[in-house]
Symmetry: D2
Subunit: 126 residues, 4 copies
């Protein structure tokens, strides 16, 4: 039996926001959209900052067309942006940025609103 490589296990981990897991549904995201955002984060972690809908559809239950449609909706709803990198040395390249999502999670104003919504929620539950 081959020995397990600890380094491989450690390097296989990427950071995911716990607040995103707690609030994605309140923010208006469905489970499949959340997974798509995590896949974008995974591709970026591996150096691919602009994966195609085909690449994104490779590891999920959704098709290439559904991936393309979800990406469009995520940009429209302000969870995702497309950055143009026009450095001198290379041809213009594009990359997805999850910064809009992280701003929704971490900017003070937003988190205050979220907290209020939670209170309203609690009133109805109690």
């Amino acid at each position: 039996m081959t020995k397990i490589n600890y380094q491989d296990i450690i390097q296989d981990q990427m950071p995911v926001s716990k607040k995103l897991l707690t609030t994605y549904y309140k923010l208006g995201l469905h489970e499949t959209e959340l997974i798509l955002l995590l896949q974008l984060s995974r591709f970026a972690d591996e150096g691919n900052h602009f994966p195609t809908p085909f690449e994104l559809a490779q590891s999920g239950s959704f098709s290439e067309e559904q991936a393309a449609s979800m990406l469009r909706k995520l940009v429209q709803k302000g969870f995702l942006s497309i950055e143009k990198n026009d450095s001198e040395k290379t041809p213009i390249s594009e990359s997805y940025s999850l910064e809009p999502l992280l701003e929704k999670l971490y900017d003070e104003d937003v988190s205050v609103i979220t907290r209020d919504e939670e209170n309203i929620g609690n009133i109805f539950i109690l």
Copy 2:
């Protein structure tokens, strides 16, 4: 405007396996099941090792009953186990363990099989 606390952002991250994101669908998991497993990981990270279906349903599109049903299926399919902790000091407590899932991901034999499946996949694509 309040200043952002860097420490809070860093501590909000938890580790998620990239291999899990690449292989969950091949392993037989649906997006919602994957999110449920990530939620178990999040609760464990926060010290709650046996969240109720109600707690799990709080932040997703699924109901308490659907959460309970998914948990049962995940145990049956060997992705999740329930550990009994019968230490002397406290009453018997239970906790979910994601070790079966991690064994599917990292044990050599399994990864070899996965690699074969990928080759088969490639043949059909090419």
Copy 3:
């Protein structure tokens, strides 16, 4: 031979800033001081936000007195602060905060200065 628990290995990891490892010496920190700051981060990760000099000296080459002296210096030099938590329910408790260190690392103005210093450094090297 006992089987290795993947979960334990994953949960044994804590996040450390790569920029801190690149810049600690430029920021005026010595190796032992850097380790002390990492130990504070480790204790916080385990729920102890105000470890004693004795606890900090347990796992290093330095004594309890040296740990106390380093803590004092780190506060004076603005890498560390002591926060008073006067919530109603509990007696006043104190905790170390690494926020001043993270502000040195991540706030724009500081990073600009750092970049200038690097340029000066480069001039001398070239």
Copy 4:
């Protein structure tokens, strides 16, 4: 004032073993050696798997010669190994592997010994 990029802060973090921070001194490592091992981990994280002593000395209090000497000692004491990667496509390249260190941390037999040592330590302290 420029806005802080959350993504940059998150991507600036790398995983470090808490058990390493607790046990490095017992394992026979000094603070500067521990930092050198963390620097190797940082370089690997950034894609450089065989940094030179010069590169390693850039961000610490130690010289190029001291870095080279420490690397040699870490290999001799079994904390570090040098892997030869003789793949067909490229010229033979070398890389540092921290696997020996991780085996010292995580392999069962070793951790048992460590626990015994801790008990002995406690007896003397009490």
